[in-house]
Amino acid sequence: MAIQSWRIRDRYYRLVGSRCASCGAEYFPPVYRCRECGSDKMKDKEMPKTGRIVTYTQLHEPLPGFEAQVPFYLALVELENGARVLTQVVDSPDEAVKTGAKVKATVRRAKVEGESGQIIYGYKFIVA
């Protein structure tokens, strides 16, 4: 996990996704090939840090490592450039987490490898 995460830490910390050099479409997570025009000329690009909730859920049955957080919100966020990010939504009152809500990115602890392993950081969003 530590090395897998290290490799893409700029994606986790700064939302570095990809932009199609041919048609300008932008993606997060990054893609190898543009879904709009089929080009494989994709360049890394930092995504905007604000967007809106397209849809969301509140998860009650966690994956291992997320037990302490339940229940917590997961949302599909459409960023200002149209890229779509699956993310946790934290530090937001229940009534604020809804479809269409404006959100902004932050960096949080995403996963902790036990008492002695590494702390993996990554993006989460907050209702703005």
Binding site: T55, T57, L59, H60, L63, L74, L76, Q88, K124
Partner: protein, 386 residues
């Protein structure tokens, strides 16, 4: 000497549920030997095992040779095919292709999954491996969470109510009552679904297929004469299709493109139109997935899948019965085996061996198995072999 046909000569399966006393291999052998006994003279030329997470669930890989050896088939080529929850039907699809190509005369397909040895969160983790480790598992999104997101999106964009969403699980449970191999054999009402515990809002426990152990097998022949006079079922069409990997990466999340394409292709290979189908086994791992699949296959208009189900359009005694033995919700969903269970159930329907679950003399039955959220869809169409 290319053959162009494939037939299911026999099937075998275990009950789905808790098999505390049986290992992954025990289950695979039980289903496999049962299928082989159905056609004792036909020895398979190849074994294809459908399985999703034996590595995690049982610390076991190399299932092909292991199951072959345990079935007394040492010597034949044997492989595992993995396509998440679509592993079973994908294994069947590969086996059929080998038979139809003429490179083998017969093939045994065994779908198997051992899920109950895992604690609930470990099972969730194993299922989540169908989705991106880097961007889906990383944020703590389980497979149920993705489907929860999808369900809310579906309900909000298509105006589907909680009660309507509950209608497909209700059908499954009604059909499971008389299905001896089903994990749950108790009828439920929509109220039971909407009052069950919350899993991934708006999805509740009864919107979600259970975790269970199970194995199912099918013996495929290229030459109907090798079946030695037994009732055979023809594989009239079969297709596997894929969609953009994660549901949230798709322009239209409600378009189950892989299902639509695989179903269209399989039906056109069979030369069939929808009204000809006598039954459909649909992959409803979550209520919302069942609805969107029915819509993608054209059984319902967009947004109408749940409402049609509620109106009785898919009941066992309707023109288009679905999930005749309880579907994923009641028969159960031992993931890598599910697709083969569906095929075994189609076989039972087309050989008039479905007992209390028999639909009224169907000529054609289709099975629909998916991996991920319509990420891989494998559809097969079967007919009576005269």
């Amino acid at each position: 000497m290319a053959r162009s046909k494939a037939y299911v000569a026999s099937v075998g399966f275990t009950k789905v549920g808790d098999h505390w006393e049986k290992s992954l291999l025990d289950l695979a052998v039980e289903a496999g030997s049962s299928a082989l006994k159905g056609a004792p003279k036909a020895k398979p030329d190849v074994l294809i095992v459908g399985n999703m997470f034996s590595a995690v669930g049982a610390s076991q890989e190399h299932l092909g040779a292991m199951v072959a050896g345990a079935l007394g088939l040492t010597g034949i080529p044997a492989f595992k095919v993995e396509a998440a929850c679509a592993s079973g039907a994908s294994a069947f699809n590969v086996a059929c292709s080998l038979v139809k190509s003429g490179s083998v005369g017969s093939a045994l397909v065994v779908g198997v999954e051992k899920m109950r040895d895992l604690e609930p969160e470990e099972a969730s983790q194993a299922l989540a491996m169908a989705e991106s480790a880097e961007y889906t598992q990383f944020v703590g999104a389980s497979f149920a969470a993705l489907n929860g997101l999808l369900a809310r999106y579906y309900m909000e964009s298509e105006g589907v109510s909680r009660d309507e969403l509950s209608s497909i699980p209700v059908i499954d449970h009604a059909n499971g009552v008389t299905a001896e191999h089903a994990q749950f054999r108790k009828a439920i009402t929509a109220d039971v679904v909407s009052r069950s515990s919350m899993v991934a809002d708006p999805l509740r426990l009864f919107d979600c297929a259970p975790v269970g152990d199970g194995a199912a097998a099918a013996l495929i022949l290229g030459d109907p004469k090798a079946g030695a006079g037994k009732k055979l079922v023809g594989v009239l069409g079969g297709a596997v299709s894929t969609n953009e990997f994660s549901v949230y990466e798709r322009k239209d999340m409600l378009d189950f493109r892989a299902t639509r394409d695989a179903f269209g292709s399989a039906m056109s290979q069979a030369g069939l139109s929808l009204p000809k189908l006598g039954a459909l086994e649909v992959h409803d791992a979550f209520s919302v997935v069942g609805a969107l699949s029915l819509e993608a296959m054209g059984l319902s208009k967009r947004g109408e899948g749940c409402r049609d189900a509620k109106a009785g359009k898919f009941d066992l005694r309707s023109d288009m019965p679905i999930n005749t033995f309880g579907g994923l919700k009641a028969r159960g969903h031992p993931v890598g085996a599910t697709g083969v269970y569906q095929i075994a159930e189609a076989f039972l329907q087309l050989t008039d061996a479905a007992g209390k679950n028999q639909v009224d003399r169907p000529d054609y039955v289709a099975t629909h198995n998916i991996g991920g959220v319509d990420t891989t869809a494998a559809v097969h169409v079967f007919g009576r072999a005269s």
